[in-house]
Symmetry: C2
Subunit: 226 residues, 2 copies
Protein backbone atom coordinates (compact mmCIF):
# COMPACT_ATOMS: atom_id res chain seq x y z
CA UNK A 1 0.00 0.00 0.00
CA UNK A 2 2.84 2.36 0.82
CA UNK A 3 4.23 2.53 -2.72
CA UNK A 4 0.86 3.50 -4.11
CA UNK A 5 0.31 6.18 -1.50
CA UNK A 6 3.63 7.77 -2.39
CA UNK A 7 2.71 8.07 -6.05
CA UNK A 8 -0.84 9.27 -5.38
CA UNK A 9 -1.65 12.92 -5.97
CA UNK A 10 -2.28 15.44 -3.23
CA UNK A 11 -5.57 15.66 -1.41
CA UNK A 12 -6.85 18.81 -3.09
CA UNK A 13 -6.33 17.34 -6.53
CA UNK A 14 -8.20 14.12 -5.96
CA UNK A 15 -11.25 15.24 -4.02
CA UNK A 16 -13.24 16.79 -6.88
CA UNK A 17 -16.46 14.91 -7.51
CA UNK A 18 -16.67 13.51 -11.00
CA UNK A 19 -20.04 11.97 -11.94
CA UNK A 20 -19.95 8.19 -12.27
CA UNK A 21 -21.09 8.32 -15.91
CA UNK A 22 -18.14 10.60 -16.70
CA UNK A 23 -15.76 8.24 -14.87
CA UNK A 24 -17.05 5.39 -17.05
CA UNK A 25 -16.30 7.40 -20.21
CA UNK A 26 -12.75 8.42 -19.23
CA UNK A 27 -11.24 5.05 -20.30
CA UNK A 28 -13.04 5.41 -23.65
CA UNK A 29 -11.50 8.86 -24.17
CA UNK A 30 -8.12 7.49 -23.11
CA UNK A 31 -8.36 4.74 -25.72
CA UNK A 32 -9.40 7.20 -28.45
CA UNK A 33 -6.53 9.56 -27.53
CA UNK A 34 -4.05 6.68 -27.55
CA UNK A 35 -5.20 5.72 -31.05
CA UNK A 36 -4.89 9.36 -32.22
CA UNK A 37 -1.44 9.59 -30.63
CA UNK A 38 -0.28 6.40 -32.34
CA UNK A 39 -1.49 7.83 -35.65
CA UNK A 40 0.78 10.86 -35.08
CA UNK A 41 -2.01 13.34 -34.34
CA UNK A 42 -0.73 16.33 -32.32
CA UNK A 43 -3.94 18.28 -31.69
CA UNK A 44 -7.61 17.45 -32.21
CA UNK A 45 -10.90 19.30 -32.00
CA UNK A 46 -13.56 18.24 -29.52
CA UNK A 47 -15.62 17.07 -32.51
CA UNK A 48 -12.81 14.80 -33.73
CA UNK A 49 -12.22 13.34 -30.30
CA UNK A 50 -15.95 12.96 -29.64
CA UNK A 51 -16.35 11.12 -32.94
CA UNK A 52 -13.37 8.83 -32.20
CA UNK A 53 -14.86 8.06 -28.77
CA UNK A 54 -18.42 7.66 -30.03
CA UNK A 55 -20.05 10.37 -27.89
CA UNK A 56 -21.46 13.78 -28.76
CA UNK A 57 -19.06 16.69 -28.51
CA UNK A 58 -21.10 18.69 -25.97
CA UNK A 59 -20.92 15.73 -23.58
CA UNK A 60 -17.20 15.34 -24.23
CA UNK A 61 -16.53 19.01 -23.46
CA UNK A 62 -18.63 18.77 -20.29
CA UNK A 63 -16.78 15.60 -19.19
CA UNK A 64 -13.36 17.14 -19.81
CA UNK A 65 -14.33 20.30 -17.94
CA UNK A 66 -14.39 18.19 -14.73
CA UNK A 67 -10.68 17.60 -15.32
CA UNK A 68 -10.07 21.29 -15.93
CA UNK A 69 -9.34 20.58 -19.61
CA UNK A 70 -10.94 23.06 -21.95
CA UNK A 71 -8.69 22.93 -25.03
CA UNK A 72 -7.58 26.04 -26.88
CA UNK A 73 -10.07 27.89 -29.07
CA UNK A 74 -9.18 27.43 -32.74
CA UNK A 75 -6.51 24.82 -31.89
CA UNK A 76 -8.34 22.17 -29.89
CA UNK A 77 -6.80 19.73 -27.47
CA UNK A 78 -3.15 18.74 -27.18
CA UNK A 79 -3.58 14.98 -27.74
CA UNK A 80 -0.57 13.81 -25.74
CA UNK A 81 -1.15 16.13 -22.80
CA UNK A 82 -4.87 15.35 -22.58
CA UNK A 83 -4.03 11.66 -22.67
CA UNK A 84 -1.69 12.14 -19.74
CA UNK A 85 -4.28 14.17 -17.80
CA UNK A 86 -6.95 11.51 -18.24
CA UNK A 87 -4.57 8.65 -17.44
CA UNK A 88 -3.56 10.47 -14.24
CA UNK A 89 -7.20 11.12 -13.32
CA UNK A 90 -8.12 7.45 -13.78
CA UNK A 91 -5.01 6.46 -11.88
CA UNK A 92 -3.37 4.39 -14.62
CA UNK A 93 -0.16 6.41 -14.64
CA UNK A 94 0.68 4.37 -11.56
CA UNK A 95 1.33 0.65 -11.50
CA UNK A 96 -1.54 -1.59 -10.38
CA UNK A 97 -0.55 -5.09 -9.31
CA UNK A 98 -3.44 -7.47 -10.03
CA UNK A 99 -4.14 -11.12 -9.21
CA UNK A 100 -6.30 -13.36 -11.39
CA UNK A 101 -8.05 -16.26 -9.68
CA UNK A 102 -9.32 -19.13 -11.85
CA UNK A 103 -7.09 -20.22 -14.71
CA UNK A 104 -9.59 -21.87 -17.02
CA UNK A 105 -10.08 -20.66 -20.59
CA UNK A 106 -11.16 -17.19 -19.54
CA UNK A 107 -8.34 -16.88 -16.99
CA UNK A 108 -5.85 -17.86 -19.68
CA UNK A 109 -7.33 -15.34 -22.09
CA UNK A 110 -7.19 -12.59 -19.45
CA UNK A 111 -3.60 -13.45 -18.46
CA UNK A 112 -2.61 -13.10 -22.12
CA UNK A 113 -4.67 -9.94 -22.70
CA UNK A 114 -2.28 -7.21 -23.79
CA UNK A 115 -4.77 -4.46 -22.95
CA UNK A 116 -4.18 -4.89 -19.21
CA UNK A 117 -0.42 -4.45 -19.32
CA UNK A 118 -0.58 -1.45 -21.67
CA UNK A 119 -2.89 0.35 -19.18
CA UNK A 120 -0.79 -0.07 -16.07
CA UNK A 121 -2.29 -3.32 -14.79
CA UNK A 122 0.43 -5.85 -14.00
CA UNK A 123 -0.65 -9.42 -13.35
CA UNK A 124 1.56 -10.45 -10.43
CA UNK A 125 -0.03 -13.84 -9.80
CA UNK A 126 -2.34 -16.42 -11.28
CA UNK A 127 -4.08 -18.56 -8.69
CA UNK A 128 -6.07 -21.73 -9.04
CA UNK A 129 -7.46 -24.21 -6.54
CA UNK A 130 -6.69 -27.14 -8.87
CA UNK A 131 -3.24 -28.65 -8.03
CA UNK A 132 -2.96 -29.92 -11.63
CA UNK A 133 -2.62 -26.32 -12.77
CA UNK A 134 0.22 -25.44 -10.42
CA UNK A 135 2.98 -26.49 -12.79
CA UNK A 136 1.70 -24.21 -15.55
CA UNK A 137 3.23 -20.93 -16.64
CA UNK A 138 0.78 -18.61 -18.42
CA UNK A 139 1.98 -15.42 -20.13
CA UNK A 140 5.24 -15.70 -18.20
CA UNK A 141 3.52 -15.94 -14.80
CA UNK A 142 3.46 -19.09 -12.62
CA UNK A 143 0.12 -20.53 -11.63
CA UNK A 144 0.13 -20.84 -7.84
CA UNK A 145 -2.15 -22.41 -5.22
CA UNK A 146 -5.14 -20.31 -4.21
CA UNK A 147 -3.94 -20.62 -0.61
CA UNK A 148 -1.01 -18.33 -1.44
CA UNK A 149 -3.45 -15.44 -1.94
CA UNK A 150 -2.85 -13.67 1.41
CA UNK A 151 0.92 -13.85 1.06
CA UNK A 152 0.90 -12.53 -2.54
CA UNK A 153 -1.50 -9.69 -1.73
CA UNK A 154 0.72 -8.61 1.16
CA UNK A 155 3.98 -9.00 -0.74
CA UNK A 156 2.88 -7.02 -3.84
CA UNK A 157 0.38 -4.62 -2.25
CA UNK A 158 -2.40 -5.96 -4.47
CA UNK A 159 -5.60 -3.91 -4.27
CA UNK A 160 -7.43 -5.32 -7.32
CA UNK A 161 -8.47 -8.93 -7.83
CA UNK A 162 -9.99 -10.52 -10.92
CA UNK A 163 -12.35 -13.49 -10.50
CA UNK A 164 -12.50 -15.86 -13.50
CA UNK A 165 -13.73 -18.95 -11.66
CA UNK A 166 -16.97 -20.87 -12.21
CA UNK A 167 -20.04 -19.22 -10.65
CA UNK A 168 -20.16 -21.58 -7.66
CA UNK A 169 -16.64 -20.68 -6.47
CA UNK A 170 -16.92 -16.92 -6.95
CA UNK A 171 -18.36 -15.89 -3.56
CA UNK A 172 -15.76 -17.91 -1.64
CA UNK A 173 -12.98 -16.37 -3.72
CA UNK A 174 -14.41 -12.88 -3.12
CA UNK A 175 -14.55 -13.51 0.66
CA UNK A 176 -10.91 -14.61 0.72
CA UNK A 177 -9.88 -11.64 -1.44
CA UNK A 178 -11.59 -9.19 0.91
CA UNK A 179 -10.12 -10.91 4.01
CA UNK A 180 -6.66 -10.64 2.49
CA UNK A 181 -7.02 -6.87 1.92
CA UNK A 182 -8.23 -6.60 -1.69
CA UNK A 183 -10.77 -3.79 -1.99
CA UNK A 184 -11.66 -3.81 -5.72
CA UNK A 185 -12.92 -6.89 -7.53
CA UNK A 186 -13.53 -7.41 -11.23
CA UNK A 187 -15.94 -10.31 -11.52
CA UNK A 188 -16.21 -12.35 -14.72
CA UNK A 189 -18.06 -15.22 -13.03
CA UNK A 190 -21.82 -15.31 -13.73
CA UNK A 191 -22.65 -14.79 -10.04
CA UNK A 192 -23.81 -11.85 -7.92
CA UNK A 193 -21.24 -11.23 -5.18
CA UNK A 194 -21.97 -9.90 -1.74
CA UNK A 195 -19.11 -7.85 -0.25
CA UNK A 196 -18.71 -5.51 2.74
CA UNK A 197 -19.12 -1.75 2.35
CA UNK A 198 -15.99 -0.10 1.00
CA UNK A 199 -15.25 -2.93 -1.43
CA UNK A 200 -16.02 -2.17 -5.09
CA UNK A 201 -17.19 -4.93 -7.37
CA UNK A 202 -17.65 -4.52 -11.11
CA UNK A 203 -19.07 -7.22 -13.29
CA UNK A 204 -18.17 -7.72 -16.91
CA UNK A 205 -21.11 -8.77 -19.03
CA UNK A 206 -19.75 -9.96 -22.36
CA UNK A 207 -23.23 -10.00 -23.85
CA UNK A 208 -23.89 -6.25 -23.57
CA UNK A 209 -22.01 -5.34 -26.75
CA UNK A 210 -23.76 -8.18 -28.60
CA UNK A 211 -27.09 -6.75 -27.48
CA UNK A 212 -26.18 -3.31 -28.82
CA UNK A 213 -25.27 -4.93 -32.17
CA UNK A 214 -28.59 -6.81 -32.13
CA UNK A 215 -30.47 -3.56 -31.60
CA UNK A 216 -28.98 -2.04 -34.75
CA UNK A 217 -29.08 -5.31 -36.70
CA UNK A 218 -32.79 -5.63 -36.02
CA UNK A 219 -33.33 -2.20 -37.56
CA UNK A 220 -31.08 -2.96 -40.56
CA UNK A 221 -32.89 -6.24 -41.24
CA UNK A 222 -36.19 -4.52 -40.91
CA UNK A 223 -35.18 -1.64 -43.19
CA UNK A 224 -34.14 -4.13 -45.88
CA UNK A 225 -37.46 -5.96 -45.84
CA UNK A 226 -39.89 -3.10 -45.19
Amino acid sequence: METRALTARTSTESTRDIPEATVARLPVYLRALTTLCEAGTITCSSEELASAAGVNSAKLRKDLSYLGSYGTRGVGYDVDYLRYQIAREIGVTQDWPVVIVGIGNLGHALANYSGFRSRGFRVVALLDADPNRHEEVVAGVDVRPFDDLEQIVKEHGVAIGVIATPALAAQDVANRMVASGISSILNFAPAVLSVPEGVDVRKVDLSIELQILAYHEQRKTHGATA
Copy 2:
Protein backbone atom coordinates in the same frame (compact mmCIF):
# COMPACT_ATOMS: atom_id res chain seq x y z
CA MET B 1 -33.04 -13.48 -42.99
CA GLU B 2 -36.73 -14.22 -43.67
CA THR B 3 -37.41 -15.70 -40.25
CA ARG B 4 -36.04 -12.61 -38.54
CA ALA B 5 -38.06 -10.31 -40.76
CA LEU B 6 -41.22 -12.19 -39.85
CA THR B 7 -40.66 -11.68 -36.15
CA ALA B 8 -39.56 -8.06 -36.52
CA ARG B 9 -41.96 -5.34 -35.46
CA THR B 10 -43.88 -3.10 -37.83
CA SER B 11 -42.25 -0.13 -39.47
CA THR B 12 -43.92 2.53 -37.34
CA GLU B 13 -42.81 0.83 -34.13
CA SER B 14 -39.13 0.55 -34.98
CA THR B 15 -38.39 3.89 -36.58
CA ARG B 16 -38.29 5.98 -33.39
CA ASP B 17 -34.87 7.43 -32.81
CA ILE B 18 -33.36 6.34 -29.54
CA PRO B 19 -30.09 8.09 -28.58
CA GLU B 20 -27.05 5.82 -28.76
CA ALA B 21 -26.25 6.35 -25.07
CA THR B 22 -29.75 5.15 -24.19
CA VAL B 23 -29.34 2.11 -26.47
CA ALA B 24 -26.13 1.26 -24.59
CA ARG B 25 -27.98 1.37 -21.25
CA LEU B 26 -30.92 -0.81 -22.32
CA PRO B 27 -28.97 -4.09 -21.80
CA VAL B 28 -28.00 -2.84 -18.32
CA TYR B 29 -31.67 -2.20 -17.45
CA LEU B 30 -32.56 -5.59 -18.90
CA ARG B 31 -30.01 -7.29 -16.67
CA ALA B 32 -31.21 -5.39 -13.57
CA LEU B 33 -34.84 -6.28 -14.34
CA THR B 34 -33.95 -9.94 -14.88
CA THR B 35 -32.25 -9.99 -11.47
CA LEU B 36 -35.30 -8.33 -9.84
CA CYS B 37 -37.59 -10.80 -11.62
CA GLU B 38 -35.56 -13.77 -10.43
CA ALA B 39 -35.78 -12.41 -6.87
CA GLY B 40 -39.58 -12.48 -7.19
CA THR B 41 -40.05 -8.69 -7.40
CA ILE B 42 -43.37 -7.80 -9.09
CA THR B 43 -43.14 -3.99 -9.24
CA CYS B 44 -40.33 -1.54 -8.61
CA SER B 45 -39.94 2.22 -8.36
CA SER B 46 -37.73 4.11 -10.80
CA GLU B 47 -35.36 4.73 -7.84
CA GLU B 48 -35.05 1.00 -7.12
CA LEU B 49 -34.46 0.13 -10.75
CA ALA B 50 -32.02 3.03 -11.20
CA SER B 51 -30.06 1.89 -8.17
CA ALA B 52 -29.98 -1.74 -9.38
CA ALA B 53 -28.73 -0.52 -12.77
CA GLY B 54 -26.25 2.00 -11.36
CA VAL B 55 -27.68 5.14 -13.02
CA ASN B 56 -29.59 8.09 -11.60
CA SER B 57 -33.35 7.82 -11.63
CA ALA B 58 -33.99 10.94 -13.74
CA LYS B 59 -31.85 9.44 -16.52
CA LEU B 60 -33.62 6.10 -16.17
CA ARG B 61 -37.05 7.73 -16.50
CA LYS B 62 -35.88 9.71 -19.53
CA ASP B 63 -34.43 6.57 -21.15
CA LEU B 64 -37.60 4.57 -20.56
CA SER B 65 -39.75 7.38 -21.93
CA TYR B 66 -38.23 6.65 -25.38
CA LEU B 67 -39.84 3.22 -25.11
CA GLY B 68 -43.15 4.73 -24.05
CA SER B 69 -42.73 3.25 -20.55
CA TYR B 70 -43.68 5.65 -17.81
CA GLY B 71 -44.63 3.35 -14.93
CA THR B 72 -47.70 3.99 -12.76
CA ARG B 73 -47.63 6.76 -10.17
CA GLY B 74 -47.48 5.30 -6.67
CA VAL B 75 -46.97 1.76 -8.02
CA GLY B 76 -43.89 2.01 -10.22
CA TYR B 77 -42.97 -0.31 -13.06
CA ASP B 78 -44.29 -3.80 -13.71
CA VAL B 79 -40.95 -5.64 -13.63
CA ASP B 80 -41.85 -8.50 -15.95
CA TYR B 81 -43.63 -6.32 -18.52
CA LEU B 82 -40.86 -3.72 -18.59
CA ARG B 83 -38.33 -6.51 -19.05
CA TYR B 84 -40.28 -7.77 -22.04
CA GLN B 85 -40.59 -4.25 -23.51
CA ILE B 86 -36.84 -3.65 -23.27
CA ALA B 87 -35.93 -7.11 -24.58
CA ARG B 88 -38.23 -6.49 -27.56
CA GLU B 89 -36.74 -3.05 -28.17
CA ILE B 90 -33.19 -4.45 -28.14
CA GLY B 91 -34.29 -7.30 -30.34
CA VAL B 92 -33.38 -10.16 -28.01
CA THR B 93 -36.87 -11.63 -27.95
CA GLN B 94 -35.90 -13.08 -31.32
CA ASP B 95 -33.23 -15.71 -31.91
CA TRP B 96 -29.81 -14.50 -33.12
CA PRO B 97 -27.60 -17.13 -34.71
CA VAL B 98 -23.96 -16.22 -34.11
CA VAL B 99 -20.63 -17.60 -35.36
CA ILE B 100 -17.41 -17.37 -33.35
CA VAL B 101 -14.14 -17.36 -35.31
CA GLY B 102 -10.93 -18.20 -33.44
CA ILE B 103 -11.12 -21.01 -30.90
CA GLY B 104 -8.17 -20.16 -28.66
CA ASN B 105 -8.63 -19.54 -24.94
CA LEU B 106 -10.94 -16.58 -25.47
CA GLY B 107 -12.98 -18.39 -28.14
CA HIS B 108 -13.41 -21.33 -25.77
CA ALA B 109 -14.45 -19.00 -22.96
CA LEU B 110 -16.96 -17.23 -25.23
CA ALA B 111 -18.38 -20.52 -26.55
CA ASN B 112 -18.96 -21.60 -22.95
CA TYR B 113 -20.33 -18.22 -21.83
CA SER B 114 -23.86 -18.80 -20.55
CA GLY B 115 -24.74 -15.11 -20.86
CA PHE B 116 -25.00 -15.34 -24.66
CA ARG B 117 -27.49 -18.18 -24.73
CA SER B 118 -29.68 -16.67 -22.02
CA ARG B 119 -30.02 -13.44 -24.06
CA GLY B 120 -31.11 -14.98 -27.35
CA PHE B 121 -27.67 -15.42 -28.93
CA ARG B 122 -27.24 -18.96 -30.22
CA VAL B 123 -23.73 -20.02 -31.26
CA VAL B 124 -24.37 -22.03 -34.44
CA ALA B 125 -20.72 -22.57 -35.39
CA LEU B 126 -17.18 -22.31 -34.11
CA LEU B 127 -14.62 -21.75 -36.84
CA ASP B 128 -10.86 -21.96 -36.78
CA ALA B 129 -8.22 -21.91 -39.50
CA ASP B 130 -6.12 -24.48 -37.61
CA PRO B 131 -6.92 -28.03 -38.88
CA ASN B 132 -5.78 -29.45 -35.51
CA ARG B 133 -8.83 -27.84 -33.90
CA HIS B 134 -11.35 -29.35 -36.33
CA GLU B 135 -11.93 -32.51 -34.30
CA GLU B 136 -12.83 -30.53 -31.18
CA VAL B 137 -16.31 -30.08 -29.75
CA VAL B 138 -16.67 -27.00 -27.53
CA ALA B 139 -19.83 -26.42 -25.50
CA GLY B 140 -21.61 -28.99 -27.66
CA VAL B 141 -20.69 -27.28 -30.94
CA ASP B 142 -18.24 -28.73 -33.51
CA VAL B 143 -15.21 -26.67 -34.46
CA ARG B 144 -15.24 -26.37 -38.27
CA PRO B 145 -12.84 -25.06 -40.91
CA PHE B 146 -12.91 -21.31 -41.45
CA ASP B 147 -13.61 -22.00 -45.13
CA ASP B 148 -17.08 -23.23 -44.18
CA LEU B 149 -18.02 -19.66 -43.15
CA GLU B 150 -20.05 -18.74 -46.28
CA GLN B 151 -22.02 -21.97 -46.18
CA ILE B 152 -22.83 -21.65 -42.46
CA VAL B 153 -23.85 -17.99 -42.73
CA LYS B 154 -26.20 -18.84 -45.60
CA GLU B 155 -27.61 -21.96 -43.96
CA HIS B 156 -28.37 -20.34 -40.59
CA GLY B 157 -29.02 -16.75 -41.69
CA VAL B 158 -26.18 -15.51 -39.49
CA ALA B 159 -26.03 -11.71 -39.21
CA ILE B 160 -23.61 -11.40 -36.26
CA GLY B 161 -20.03 -12.65 -36.15
CA VAL B 162 -17.64 -12.71 -33.21
CA ILE B 163 -13.89 -12.40 -33.85
CA ALA B 164 -11.66 -13.98 -31.18
CA THR B 165 -8.55 -14.48 -33.33
CA PRO B 166 -5.08 -12.98 -32.83
CA ALA B 167 -4.78 -9.35 -33.98
CA LEU B 168 -3.02 -10.20 -37.24
CA ALA B 169 -5.84 -12.42 -38.51
CA ALA B 170 -8.71 -10.14 -37.52
CA GLN B 171 -8.99 -7.96 -40.65
CA ASP B 172 -8.98 -10.98 -43.00
CA VAL B 173 -11.67 -12.63 -40.91
CA ALA B 174 -13.73 -9.42 -40.95
CA ASN B 175 -13.41 -9.20 -44.76
CA ARG B 176 -14.60 -12.77 -45.19
CA MET B 177 -17.47 -12.20 -42.73
CA VAL B 178 -18.64 -9.13 -44.63
CA ALA B 179 -18.29 -10.91 -48.01
CA SER B 180 -20.40 -13.77 -46.70
CA GLY B 181 -23.23 -11.45 -45.62
CA ILE B 182 -22.51 -10.76 -41.95
CA SER B 183 -23.33 -7.14 -41.11
CA SER B 184 -22.53 -6.89 -37.38
CA ILE B 185 -19.16 -7.82 -35.90
CA LEU B 186 -18.13 -8.09 -32.26
CA ASN B 187 -14.35 -7.79 -32.21
CA PHE B 188 -12.30 -9.13 -29.29
CA ALA B 189 -9.01 -9.00 -31.21
CA PRO B 190 -6.72 -6.08 -30.31
CA ALA B 191 -6.95 -4.63 -33.82
CA VAL B 192 -8.84 -1.76 -35.46
CA LEU B 193 -11.02 -3.16 -38.25
CA SER B 194 -11.93 -1.40 -41.45
CA VAL B 195 -15.34 -2.39 -42.83
CA PRO B 196 -17.69 -1.03 -45.50
CA GLU B 197 -20.48 1.38 -44.60
CA GLY B 198 -23.54 -0.39 -43.25
CA VAL B 199 -21.48 -2.92 -41.27
CA ASP B 200 -21.41 -2.34 -37.51
CA VAL B 201 -18.30 -3.22 -35.53
CA ARG B 202 -18.12 -3.10 -31.75
CA LYS B 203 -14.94 -3.74 -29.84
CA VAL B 204 -14.81 -5.19 -26.37
CA ASP B 205 -12.15 -3.62 -24.19
CA LEU B 206 -11.74 -5.84 -21.14
CA SER B 207 -9.60 -3.21 -19.43
CA ILE B 208 -12.31 -0.53 -19.18
CA GLU B 209 -13.91 -1.97 -16.05
CA LEU B 210 -10.46 -2.38 -14.47
CA GLN B 211 -9.78 1.29 -15.15
CA ILE B 212 -13.03 2.30 -13.46
CA LEU B 213 -12.01 0.22 -10.42
CA ALA B 214 -8.57 1.86 -10.45
CA TYR B 215 -10.19 5.31 -10.42
CA HIS B 216 -12.08 4.52 -7.23
CA GLU B 217 -9.23 2.51 -5.71
CA GLN B 218 -6.89 5.44 -6.15
CA ARG B 219 -9.29 7.61 -4.17
CA LYS B 220 -9.78 4.96 -1.46
CA THR B 221 -6.03 4.45 -1.06
CA HIS B 222 -5.60 8.15 -0.94
CA GLY B 223 -8.40 8.64 1.58
CA ALA B 224 -6.84 6.03 3.87
CA THR B 225 -3.43 7.70 3.87
CA ALA B 226 -4.38 11.40 3.72
